[in-house]
């Protein structure tokens, strides 16, 4: 049985820009620290012809606050740092009574040769 637990995470703002060479850049700035319920941690592997692709999926359940409402409305502008790794939001699911928000987040490891 999976054990849900509360763990500290950082919620970050993402700022998009371009550097002097025209490369797109993403700046990650910590917005606040909070403590969601962490559950359903899944690490998966897909093997392509040449590479192993690891994709990790996780669920964070937060209390519904004004900050979290903004994350639900603009999920592309936020990321979450959990265990020193950066997670992006794929799905933001409000509970029907708006007491909590579940964010499904993914992270891709660098591809590894097969």
């Amino acid at each position: 049985m999976a054990i849900k637990r509360y763990e500290n995470v950082d919620v970050n703002d993402l700022t998009f820009g371009a550097n002097a060479y025209g490369d797109y850049t993403t700046t990650i700035t910590k917005k606040f620290t909070t403590r969601p319920l962490v559950s359903d941690v899944k690490n998966s592997l897909a093997i392509t012809e040449r590479y192993r692709v690891y994709q990790d999926l996780i669920q964070f359940t937060f209390n519904y606050t004004p900050n979290l409402k903004d994350i639900v409305d603009n999920q592309n502008l936020y990321s979450i740092t959990w265990r020193a790794k950066d997670w992006r939001i794929t799905d933001a699911i409000e509970s029907n009574d708006r007491m909590s928000v579940t964010l499904m987040c993914y992270r891709s490891d660098p591809t590894t040769r097969v």
Binding site: Y6, N8, F32, T33, T34, R35, L37, T65, P66, N67
Partner: protein, 221 residues
């Protein structure tokens, strides 16, 4: 023999609780008790400060509920008690304050008498303040004693001619961790349940708010 109305026969004291009615006249409505740090730790919000104003409002309701439940002020609460004419014939005149859980019999810091007033027999009646040398507070019996009796010009036609205003100071129990824990439990409950009704039946957890506060609740409110 003097009139002993309101007095226990053959006793030097009388039947307790001779006030007609009492009302709260001052209470801290904006002062926080639990800190935001304690609250955000409890709710796992930590650095998410976007709800602080709401949490502070919730905290006030929780603190007032615990004060009311225990009959014990966490911050000073002032009351006004009214006494009818039946109280003034005993000798000496003894005016019971409504029961409080914290009387502090030793240094009388628990209850402070702000003033004792009476309605005189002028027309129209005037509320007159009694000099503080004419009364004293008895912390062991939680009553005000008027050793010289009541003033001769007291108005016996007024239903409750004597009025006492007093303040009950914070109870030292409010710093007990067990009471703060009960407050945090209650706050979490109110935070998570913001409607009067639910779709499913709520159940209390064991060792909850009642269990934590029960030892500190006096039998008399």
């Amino acid at each position: 023999m003097s009139d002993t109305l309101g007095q226990v026969q053959y006793g030097s004291t009388r039947n307790p609780f001779n006030y007609d009615k009492f009302e709260q006249i001052n209470r801290a409505l904006t002062t926080g008790w639990l800190t935001l740090e304690e609250i955000t730790q409890q709710l796992n919000l930590f650095g998410d400060e976007s709800q602080d104003a709401y949490l502070e409002g919730l905290e006030l309701a929780v603190r007032m509920h615990i004060e009311d439940y225990l009959g014990m002020p966490i911050f000073p609460v002032s009351y006004r008690a009214y006494y009818g004419i039946s109280s003034i014939y005993a000798s000496p005149v003894c005016l019971d304050l409504p029961q409080v859980s914290y009387k502090d019999s030793y240094n009388s810091g628990g209850v402070v008498i702000n003033n004792v007033k009476y309605y005189n027999d002028d027309t129209p009646v005037t509320l007159t303040t009694l000099a503080s040398s004419n009364y004293s507070y008895d912390p062991t019996g939680n009553k005000v004693i008027l050793p010289n009796g009541t003033p001769s010009d007291i108005n016996v036609n007024v239903t409750s001619p004597i009025v006492i205003e007093y303040t009950v100071n914070p109870n030292f129990l409010q710093a007990y961790p067990v009471i703060k824990q009960a407050a945090l439990l209650l706050l979490t409950h109110l935070y998570n349940n913001r409607a009067e009704t639910t779709l499913s039946k709520l159940q209390n957890i064991p060792y909850g708010v009642d269990a934590l506060l029960r030892p500190y609740k006096p039998l008399v409110m």
